[in-house]
Symmetry: D2
Subunit: 331 residues, 4 copies
């Protein structure tokens, strides 16, 4: 049974990954490491995850001798650790942004200096449904951001069909997407009874979305704007596509059926989905509709930002990298 | 001192209108009527509004002999009552949709038969900031819907400048916008920890938005989609405009300053606003930004759907109709 | 493999029971019945539960020929159905109040006429941890109410020790505890940003709590008052015990350790628990503390009202009735 | 017109006090000071309060020459500032705990060293309804804590009647009560969908409650336990009194009517109140009921913790200290 370590388990995504792997029938969770809260038990920090391990400082001597690692460090801090783990022969799923972008220059513009630029080529962008084959053979998977996950699953069928002339992506996320850092933004009193756009015109998930949309055939910059909502877990992207050619509802639905009918973790809804419907699951639920009045194609996709948008997609990828059934431990 | 009656005070908007008028220094609230909860005291039904009047059945004999009425009945039920009140010489602000649309055919397509089509011409569309003059002289004001209020204030400067080639309006509203009716949608367990698009491709506020955008100079159908959020009061519209010609941030901000610098109830924010910032106020708070990367103009506007989106705008209009200072009783 | 039917699957508790049994490795869910929403698929009504069965009207001919039934009807409606199922040889877990009280007179005072008084003797009160033996041999289990479940687990060690002279139980519950019925109380706008005591001096769970406390050795009426909180699932009972004799922290904790150290679904916390810590689990998490200043013993217990407070405890009981491991399908 | 300064206006209570005084017809708000966020405009930090002043560092030279000050510093930091202001002839309402306790030893046990012990005698405990006379003549008012405010208003009639043998106070508060400090407790993800007891057996408001209960005639330690709720503003105390002698509902209600019938800011409800009913008001709403079954007297009181529990009560006291109508600026 392959053993695995979660690096950065004191954050929301890392802690959930630890929870999923602790219960996983085919992996053995050896250790959880963190940069803060070292020495504290994970089930004290996150009682609901019930992982009875103590958070340790990362020690490559001990933690590097594992078959797999899920790294949930912030961007920048992640790359050197990932690189070291790869050197030791560990397969890695990295939840940071460090290996998602293929163009170093673009990375540096949005995130600053890169900690292991020579390893960028090794990474596979791990949006499982779109890169299943490559993920299976990868030693380093760059787990997608939560917004790109939902957006790309929402738009892939249209992008591949060459149907996107222009697209507005209005995204909404629960507060867990902002991470465990306590500040004015994540304070209950700030977020409660509120909704706020943020990162207007410059969110870091933009280049990631654009890169992958282009790879799928839609070389247009998406007008992507996230909003913070007063809820915990859950993300909705509302995509408004101006099509290259007219498309009616039947054709649109046909495209999505063809793309996703056999996907175990994509559901096609027959009405607009709410984020509650995918809470605590690895599922992306999609509703698409052609709007006669405006000629626009509207696609709504929901995920749980901590699950499919981070930790459970990491496990989905890990399963593939180790030849396990894709849904093991996350269904 | 003019006296006033609120018809339909058992709903959220009507009850708030009663609250505002009960405390208003220049109007005397004579009675509150309702179709349900008759005989119950309003401060029992809405303790926080503290209006110690008993809800009565509408009796034109008694209630029609007032100077002014705010009618907060559902569309369809409103028109005949409004018409009867006008016959009695009462000035009316109608919160329903019955007198907002100028084209009878359009009304009937979205709402069914009209109860007083011959009176449609008399109505002034009461988005105060855009129709101040006409409102002042009106006997019947059709109070705008909450979404149109926020959307039109957000887009008016661009529409007037002839700058809108295409526009997506992604709207978010708290649950009070869905009214007091208790059903699966408004049940706490349905709305909590959730966000759901609704009325996709066919919300009744669409024709109202389109009519008024056209009147302002932008004859394009807006791709308008509302979403239900887990909060009580508050509404945000996120508008993504494809401009007819390039426009940079400086020019964009200039347009908004010119339009709104002197408006007492419009605030121009220097960062994206949250709905909390306008809660329990008559204020619309707007942030506009030109997005270089996509060429889009992004405009975000927040209001309190029950205040500026309904009851306080009704009082704002009433003030004008009776020659009072516009902000009296709602500042 | 025993087959099972869930009667009353359109409500929150019944739907969750169906969800748990649909995934249960040792039971086969044959059908879901309901009194409303017949003909609708359960995964349309509750997408998140993902049970692809159609809600049927109860037909004893077809649905009675099963090994087991979970009945989630309202009190009053439940008794005759339960009785008929028992006649057909079906083992039943009943989630209603109909078979919880042992004294017919008490039942009738709180709930009205009883639909099958002759069957009351057959029922075992299914608070699993306190009645494991009897549940194992039962054909009819009366699943406890959510408040009694948390309260009795909180107080059992003290009651058995004869230590309770007087007790105040201040209970707090999420809105799902009020059921799926849409009314003024469960409307989002009523419950949001609010907290309200209800059933003051007369909640129906009082006689159930008193009966079972007496059975455990504490023959005192608990001053039980529930409060409605702005959250979905989760329940906290705060118990303030005036002890018959002084008890310090060490002795108190010893009592609880002795009672619960080996219980798989009871956790003893070392600080006051929050309801999030048990969300979507069958776990009851308890914190007990002797307060030197006042001499009171304080015990706080949290459960998920829909899980341990209803559906998962039903499955826990069903497991025992069919000789399965107690935690199967609910861990 | 007396001028006033608010010291510590960057916190929730101070900011609200500034908001109320900025609009107050009889005071002129000269300056707002803070220990953090100096140089930032208050309406940037708290847009909804709309106070267009810049936060300054406290400078007694400039800020001390005012008629009145509201000090909203943390305990410990407050005393020396208050003392200095008093020396300059400024009347002070202090929102910290520094001058609430009359016994220095008790203060030091709960809060540590006192910054101006010689001034403790000058302070009047400013629970307005209970100390109206003394507040009117005071130069230093110690504004009560939020929990004591609600608890003492709830229990005063019983305490004065000598009717309290024992009392449990189960208190529930929104997150704003925990202050603006961003930490694990106030993070949205921690508080959302949660309810947690805290300060079990040792909350700092306990000695304050006990001191004032004793002053009112009830020399019993209250078993006081607060709970954190997922809402912003609002506080409910549920008081369970074991009476010294039997008391029925009629007598109980009589006591409360006698005590509060003429109080402008105390409402006697005829059913259990929700905190929404007093949001953004200076009102305390109370419901009392004798419970026949247990013999207990139950009293429920709600306030807005930031208003009556802090800032608006401060203004209420300030009004009295300057001979203004008690409700001016806060009704």
């Amino acid at each position: 049974m392959p053993d695995v370590v979660v690096c950065g388990a004191s954050g929301y995504a890392g802690a959930l990954a630890a929870h999923l792997l602790w219960r996983h029938p085919a992996f053995e969770l050896r250790a959880v490491t963190a940069r803060s809260d070292v020495g504290r038990r994970l089930d004290d920090l996150y009682p609901r995850h019930r992982v009875p391990l103590v958070l340790e400082e990362l020690d490559l001597e001990r933690h590097g001798k594992v078959d797999a690692a899920v790294v949930a460090y912030p961007h920048g801090a992640s790359a050197p650790v990932v690189s070291a783990l790869l050197d030791l022969g560990t397969k890695v799923v990295d939840l940071s942004a460090d290996f998602r972008l293929t163009d170093l220059e673009v990375y540096e513009r949005w995130y600053g200096e890169h900690g292991a630029p020579d390893r960028m080529d090794e990474a596979v962008y791990g949006l499982t449904e779109l890169r299943r084959q490559e993920v299976s053979g990868a030693t380093l998977v760059a787990n997608p951001g939560c917004y790109p996950t939902a957006t790309l699953l929402a738009l892939a069928p249209l992008a591949r069909a060459g149907a996107i002339a222009d697209v507005v992506v209005d995204a909404k996320s629960g507060v867990s997407g902002a991470g465990r850092g306590a500040d004015d933004t994540t304070h209950f009193v700030s977020a409660d009874e509120n909704v706020t756009p943020y990162g207007v015109g410059g969110h870091r998930h933009s280049p990631e979305i654009d890169q992958e949309l282009a790879a799928l055939g839609a070389d247009v910059p998406a007008a992507f704007t996230p909003h913070l909502l007063p809820l915990d877990q859950g993300e909705l992207v509302s995509c408004y596509v101006t099509p290259r050619r007219e498309m009616d509802d039947a054709e649109l639905r046909g495209l999505y059926l063809e793309a996703y009918a056999d996907e175990p973790f994509v559901e096609l809804a027959d009405r607009p989905p709410g984020v509650r419907e995918v809470r605590d699951t690895n599922i992306c639920r999609i509703f698409a509709r052609a709007d006669e009045r405006t000629g626009k194609l509207m696609v709504f996709a929901t995920i749980d930002n901590l699950w499919k948008g981070a930790a459970s997609q990491a496990v989905q990828n890990l399963n593939l990298m180790f030849g396990r059934p894709e849904g093991e431990g996350i269904s």
